[in-house]
Each structure stands twice: as structure tokens, then as C-alpha cells.
């Protein structure tokens, strides 16, 4: 560490990192799409879809039940909110699968569609 030029160990390290990266080049290129990471992300997506569907229905029905109890409109609140819950769940699943994140609303899709159309026009 006490070699005259303070930059010397850094240069040395830079060289070693470059060599290591070159040596690992083939494997690092594939690692991001290796079986482990794709397995993990599909596992996460599967969990997310299941939870999304289930929770939306349960919470919707629960809110309907609470409204019924509060306003005495049994069984209409529960029935309507049940179907709304199913719809909301499917909407969220669709969003999760199409990669729109969890964004409520459609502006993102509209922008993406517009961008895609523009891109295609530029490309052709």
C-alpha cells in the first residue's frame, strides 16, 4: 500500500477487475436470465396473481357485508360488491401480467400504445 504512486493499487485493481470480468464474460451474460432468476420471478408472479384474485374477492365481499350491516340492505350490497371485487381482482391480475405494474387507470397503457405506434411509424 505504501508504494510511491497512490494511484498504483487502484490501477492494479482496475486491471484485475477487467480481467475477471472478461473471464466471467460468458457466464455473466447469461446469469440475468438464468434458471434461478426466472424461476424466482415466475414464482413471485404466480404468488401475486393468486393473492390478487383472492384478496380482491374477499375484501369486496367483506365491504359489501359491512355496508349491508350498516344500511340494512341485505343481501344487495354483498352481491354487488362481490362481483365488483371479482372484476377488480381480474383487472389487477391483468395489470400484473401485462406488466403495467399496479397502476390504477389506463393512461399508462394509452401512452404505451401511442409510443408503440409512433415507434412503428418511425421504424417503417
Amino acid at each position: 500500500m505504501t508504494q510511491g504512486d497512490p494511484q498504483e493499487p487502484l490501477n492494479h485493481l482496475g486491471r484485475r477487475i477487467e480481467e475477471a470480468q472478461r473471464a466471467a464474460g460468458a457466464s455473466t451474460g447469461q446469469r440475468s436470465e438464468g434458471p434461478q432468476s426466472s424461476f424466482g420471478s415466475s414464482l413471485a408472479l404466480a404468488w401475486r396473481i393468486g393473492i390478487e384474485l383472492l384478496v380482491a374477492v374477499v375484501v369486496g365481499t367483506g365491504i359489501g357485508w359491512a355496508i349491508d350491516r350498516w344500511l340494512g340492505t341485505r343481501p344487495w350490497g354483498m352481491i354487488i360488491l362481490f362481483f365488483l371485487g371479482v372484476a377488480a381482482g381480474m383487472l389487477n391480475v391483468w395489470r400484473a401480467v401485462t406488466g403495467a405494474g399496479m397502476a390504477v387507470g389506463y393512461r399508462q397503457q394509452q401512452q404505451a400504445a401511442r409510443a408503440a405506434k409512433d415507434g412503428r411509424k418511425d421504424g417503417d
Partner: protein
């Protein structure tokens, strides 16, 4: 010979220091103990690792810097412009959940993220916080989040309740996802552990499965912390930009 398998016993809350204030049970529990350990560990990691910050980082400094960069990158790409303002919150959240998940994998430890009340408290905090940020930024224009533009008025009657509902279930999905993952994984570990204990001759089979599940759980622990943080970023993005 009969060994009772109690896979859910590991989730029992034990009062370590009983404490009652004004009729409220605020005892210091094993759950709180692990939370304290998690907070102390994260703080120690970040403080100690960067105290003697070197240009060429050592092992611990690398860990701290990598987690910092990982979260910073996640916030920047997912929360979008202006999201970095909330980086400290997301970083704290990510590290807390990550440490909670992984500390729970140490045998005889306790997984506080396997309790719905813990994850729900985190999720509802995020939900309320994000809603307040959205309203503070955009005023009542924030409500336009629920009304997609260019939709006939007849459909709006149906769409607005659906959108509202899908917004309101966020804290539930966020908390249940983390809680259910942790609960299921740890229950599975305990069940196969119980099989190994009750089948001495064939113990190698359930034991082997347990080892494999343990690796899977390590993956799930990191993955779920990541999902929790990334969804927080996406919610923030919604509130900051109205998509």
C-alpha cells in the same frame, strides 16, 4: 415414540417483558426482540460499514453500498422523477423486511413478517402515506386516477367503483402476499422437520427436502422484500405522476 408435530408453534408470541400501560398490553415480545435486532443490525451495517469509507470498499462496505445502490436504482426506475425524495423510506422498508425475512430463517428465531398484523401495519402506513402524498401533490385532481379518460359515461358508473376497489385492496394484497409467503414457507419447513423427527429410519428424505426448501425460502425471503419495496415504488409513482 409418537412425536407431536406442531408446525404452527413457531409463530407463538411470547411476552419476554410483560408491560401493561393503561389497560393496554404493550409487553416486549419475542417478535419485538427480533424487530429490534433487525433495526440494530441494519443501522450497524450502514453506519459501521461507511464510517471508514475507503475508495476501494471492503466486504462490509460493499454490502452496504450494494444494498444502497440496489434500492436507489429500484426507486429511480420505478417511482420515476421525484421519487428519490422518498428513497430513505423505501430503503428502510426494504432492509427491515429483508432482515425480518432472513433473520426468521435462523433456527429458533422468530419471523415477525409471518404475522399479518406486522405486514398489514407496514402496508397500511404505505397506503395512507401514498394517498396523502397524492392528494398533497395534485389536490382533488388526484381523484381523476379513478376515472379513465375517454370512457363513455355509462361505463364510468361501473368502472369507478371497480377502480376504487382495486385501489383500496392494495394494503391487503401487499400485506397478505408477504405474510402468506412467510407463513407457508416456515410451516412447510416445520412439517418436514417433524417428519424427519418421527421417521427415524427414513429421516434422510424429509431432511433433504427441508434443506431444499430452506434454499427456496432464502430466495423467497429476498424476493418478497424486493416485491414489497418495488410495489411501494409503483404506488409512489402513481401518487407522484397520476401514472
Amino acid at each position: 415414540m409418537a412425536i407431536e408435530i406442531k408446525p404452527l408453534e413457531q409463530f407463538t408470541i411470547e411476552r419476554l417483558i410483560p408491560l401493561h400501560i393503561g389497560g393496554l398490553d404493550v409487553s416486549y415480545t419475542n417478535s419485538a426482540l427480533v424487530m429490534t435486532i433487525a433495526v440494530v443490525l441494519v443501522t450497524a451495517l450502514v453506519l459501521l460499514a461507511t464510517r471508514r469509507a475507503a475508495l476501494v470498499p471492503g466486504r462490509w462496505q460493499s454490502v452496504a453500498e450494494m444494498s444502497y445502490e440496489f434500492v436507489a436504482d429500484m426507486v429511480e426506475t420505478n417511482a420515476g422523477h421525484g421519487g428519490m425524495q422518498y428513497f430513505p423510506f423505501v430503503f428502510t422498508l426494504f432492509m427491515f423486511v429483508l432482515l425480518g425475512n432472513s433473520l426468521g430463517l435462523i433456527p429458533y428465531s422468530f419471523t415477525f413478517t409471518s404475522h399479518i398484523i406486522v405486514t398489514f401495519a407496514l402496508a397500511i402506513t404505505i397506503f395512507i402515506g401514498v394517498t396523502i402524498i397524492g392528494i398533497a401533490r395534485h389536490g382533488w385532481h388526484f381523484l381523476s386516477l379513478f376515472a379513465p379518460s375517454g370512457v363513455p359515461a355509462v361505463l364510468l358508473v361501473l368502472l369507478i367503483p371497480i377502480e376504487l376497489l382495486s385501489y383500496c385492496i392494495r394494503p391487503f394484497t401487499l400485506s397478505i402476499r408477504l405474510f402468506a409467503n412467510m407463513l407457508a414457507g416456515h410451516t412447510m419447513l416445520a412439517i418436514f422437520g417433524g417428519f424427519a423427527a418421527s421417521l427415524p429410519l427414513f429421516a434422510i428424505l424429509p431432511l433433504g427436502i427441508d434443506v431444499l426448501i430452506y434454499f427456496l425460502e432464502l430466495l423467497v425471503a429476498v424476493l418478497q422484500a424486493y416485491v414489497f419495496a418495488i410495489l411501494t415504488c409503483l404506488y409512489l409513482h402513481d401518487a407522484l405522476h397520476l401514472h
